[in-house]
């Protein structure tokens, strides 16, 4: 059994330096499209019409991106004639309203998280699970996943909230003691994603619960979720521009 100890030591430390330093390894994020200037308004309109999720809006020569709607289908990345610029970042957390209140100071270095899979496709949940692996290791930041909502401060909702999970999700939320925050992770949890609002899907967590923070992406990479959790814990400020849909554009 001592083998495992030495094996682990030999493999060394794999953990990212984030949030002390930005993470620049390849493949940590799919990136995101950013607002792009085109040569003409027709090109911008064509680029906007390519998007199956209506995340791109033509505004004169510019194609503006609403990241909250983006489903990462990559059609504006390659393959189509009019592609947008893509940026390889991961700090995408945003809030549905202008008012955002972080948790009190005592939660900064001790945050307990409960995740509810409300009809998720599996990608967002898998990315959230990766936060426990040695690369991201949220334990070093004082964040833990709990099995019971009674001990949780943050509720991460993944999935568009399928009808059968509406009840359990509400129960989970009600079982959490105050203060608590709800984070919608992924495009499905924000506005239903490709599933939308149907008889079997509520079209996002906002229809069911009061959502405090949103992390766009389909799925958002682990670092984006980590960024969101740091914002919830109050260790990072949430910077909102006038329009909450654009960040550092």
């Amino acid at each position: 059994m001592s083998f495992w100890f030495w094996h682990g030591i030999r493999k060394g430390v794999q953990t990212t330096r984030y949030p002390r330093a930005p993470e620049s390894a390849g493949g940590v994020t799919p990136g995101r499209p950013v607002t792009t200037e085109f040569h003409s308004a027709e090109e911008a309109a064509l680029a906007a019409s390519n998007c199956p999720a209506n995340a791109i809006a033509a505004d004169g020569n510019r194609a503006r991106v609403d990241l909250r709607r983006c489903i990462h289908c990559q059609r504006c990345h390659f393959g189509e004639p009019h592609v947008l610029e893509w940026r390889s970042d991961y700090e995408w957390a945003t809030a549905p309203t202008e008012k955002y209140e972080a948790l009190p100071r005592s939660y900064r270095r001790s945050l307990h998280i409960i995740v509810v899979d409300a009809g998720d496709c599996g990608a967002c949940l898998h990315e959230v699970k990766q936060l426990n692996n040695p690369f991201y290791n949220i334990h070093r930041l004082g964040m833990f996943f709990t099995a019971t909502p009674r001990a949780a401060d943050v509720l991460l909702v993944v999935g568009p909230v399928s009808e059968n999970m509406r009840g359990p999700l509400l129960k989970t939320y009600e079982a959490m003691p105050d203060p608590k925050r709800v984070v919608a992770v992924g495009a499905c949890a924000i506005n239903g994603g490709v599933f939308g609002h149907t008889f079997m899907s509520a079209g996002g967590a906002a229809s069911v619960l009061p959502v405090n923070l949103e992390i766009p992406g389909d799925p958002p990479p682990p670092l984006a979720v980590l960024d969101g959790l740091l914002v919830v814990a109050g260790r990072k400020p949430l910077i909102l521009n006038e329009s909450p849909v654009e960040r550092n554009a």
Binding site: F3, R75, H77, D120, Q130, P149, M165, P168, M200
Partner: protein, 545 residues
């Protein structure tokens, strides 16, 4: 240890002509045979519904075909049922049955083919179709505690179809609902697990483990908490939107499912996919399989709380995710498949990077496997736990790595190759013990074989286009199939005259394997339940759609 076998020994090829002759001889007037279309080799139209169980039994047990699934459609006022079987090496067989909706009752085949049980229950819940002789209809997809009886949201006969995008109709939660408990022992109780369990890091499933204190006597799963009615949403949508749905209903096997959908559309339109695209598709499919299996191995190590091994396996998986992202632009390979080929091409340098990552992952997996073999505390939790005997595997039609660990070795890549697998040589692992350790060994071996196939694919690449023009015809129907990491995935598509989706049916291996999962859990201590769950590596969201 592992016994890998060559395809010739494993799959007893079923000769289609002989089978057709045998069916004609045995069932004579009740059937009418013809060539199928859209990927189906033999189509048996059943004229006498009473003969359905008998015919299914003949095909499954006597002829040795494997069961694919049940497709229910509502066309022109009639119910069209299509039972799919695979004759290994020869092709798909479908049994077509048309029933007038007024006499809406079909004989149940689940006593002959147990795997048909859930297909029939789903049809009853979503279509309202009654299956005579099925003892347990109801409370399946539409949970009884919130859905009223007779909702049948997929129907469209004589009633305005329930538009998938309309707001839901009124539902009344039933406060007196009680689950159906089976064990009658004075001290028996049913331990509830889920749907929010393991901190939510597990997918939403609900189990009632009926026990008298030590062993689980009966495990009753309740799934479909993640049911989003993907099949219904796709109706009336163009093919490009349905492709998005195919990709995203089960993201950890998204490439395999989007590939199956694309193959169906290509088959319908008769488009010829370029050679380079075929090899690239194989490469990417195996990359997904390798990454998926690394994740499953991580899950098994985590369930037994072997922390260092779990962390090391997680490192392997994260590296593969990053390699996938660097290679394709998305960690889960979204946005690559399209009917007609792939959406993008790759540079030679990126191949070199990818192959380096794959080799590193493989060597690390080998080290991990060897050390796990010598960790007796780990093996104690897996060996002889969660047993599925070969007979049970056959009975319940287990697919994928789970089936292979119990001697049931079916693999669509070899049995009925698709998309270019014909020219590849690789082995399919097979174990017969059927316990957790056998499933783990199968996962490791399959991962190595996937790496092997990736190398073969990279070698065979020639420069060329990666996409061909594929126009979806109006009024076509086709079946597309792939071997997803969890098992066989079938996508069946029918387009209407305007080229929009009329009916989209997805049959996944998870749906099949979840049905039989309970035999592995029963008669074992309930502390072993999470471990058995992890060794099965099933996806609830792939089952629920």
């Amino acid at each position: 240890m592992t016994a890998t076998s060559s395809p010739v020994a494993l799959f007893r090829r079923v000769e289609l002509d002989r089978l057709a002759a045998a069916v004609q001889e045995r069932f004579g007037a009740s059937v009418s045979l013809s060539r199928g279309d859209g990927g189906v080799a033999l189509s048996i139209t059943l004229l006498e519904p009473r003969a359905l169980p008998e015919l299914c039994k003949f095909l499954f047990w006597d002829a040795g075909c494997s069961f694919g699934g049940l497709i229910v459609e509502e066309r022109q006022g009639k119910w069209c049922l299509s039972y799919l079987f695979l004759a290994a090496g020869s092709g798909w067989i479908e049994i077509l049955l048309q029933v007038l909706s007024s006499a809406s009752s079909v004989p149940s085949t689940s006593s002959e083919i147990h795997a048909a049980d859930w297909h029939e229950r789903e049809a009853e819940d979503l279509f309202g179709l009654q299956f005579e002789g099925h003892p347990r209809l109801g409370d399946f997809i539409l949970h009884d505690q919130i859905w009223p009886e007779g909702a049948a949201p997929h129907r469209r006969l004589q009633r305005k179809s329930m538009d998938a995008h309309q707001a839901h109709f009124r539902r009344r939660p039933n406060p007196d609902w009680r689950p159906l408990l089976v064990v009658r022992d004075p001290g028996a109780f049913a331990m509830p697990v889920g749907p929010v369990y393991e901190g939510g890091l597990g997918q939403s499933v609900h189990f009632l483990l009926e026990t008298v204190g030590e062993d689980v006597v009966r495990a009753v799963p309740r799934l479909f908490y993640n049911f989003r009615a993907v099949e219904k949403i796709a109706e009336g949508e163009p093919v490009s939107r349905a492709l998005l749905l195919a990709e995203r209903f089960a993201a950890t096997s998204s490439f395999a499912h989007s590939l199956a959908f694309s193959l169906a559309i290509e088959r319908m339109s008769g488009a010829e996919v370029p050679v380079r695209a075929k090899h690239l598709r194989i490469l990417l499919g195996e990359l997904e399989r390798l990454r998926h299996h690394a994740g499953a191995i991580t899950g098994i190590c985590e369930s037994t709380a072997l922390a260092v091994a779990a962390s090391q396996a997680a490192i392997i998986e994260e590296r593969l995710l990053r390699a996938s992202c660097q290679f394709t632009g998305h960690r889960y390979l979204f946005g690559l498949n399209t009917p007609g080929g792939l959406r993008r091409d790759f540079t030679n340098e990126s191949f070199a990077e990818l192959l380096k990552s794959v080799d590193l992952a493989t060597s690390e997996l080998r080290v991990l496997e060897e050390r796990l073999h010598f960790t007796s505390s780990f093996l104690d939790r897996l060996e002889d736990v969660g047993l599925v005997s070969p007979d049970q595997a056959r009975d319940l039609n287990f697919m994928g790595p789970v089936g292979r660990a119990s001697g049931r070795c079916h693999d669509l890549r070899l049995e009925y190759p698709y998309g270019g697998y014909e020219g590849y040589t690789f082995e399919v692992p097979r174990e017969v013990e059927g316990d957790g350790y056998a499933r783990l060994r199968v996962l490791f071996q399959e991962a190595y074989q996937s790496a092997n196939v990736i190398h073969q694919a990279a070698e065979r690449l020639q420069p060329g286009p990666v996409t061909a023009h594929c126009e979806a015809p109006s009024g076509g129907v086709a079946l597309g199939w792939t071997e997803a990491p969890i098992g066989a995935a079938l996508h069946w598509v029918r387009l209407d005259n305007a080229g929009l989706v009329e009916r989209y049916r997805i049959i996944t291996a998870s749906f099949n394997n979840w049905h039989g999962f309970r035999v592995a859990v029963e008669d074992f201590a309930f502390q072993d339940f999470p471990i058995i769950l992890a060794t099965f590596g099933l996806s609830a969201t792939e089952c629920d759609r």
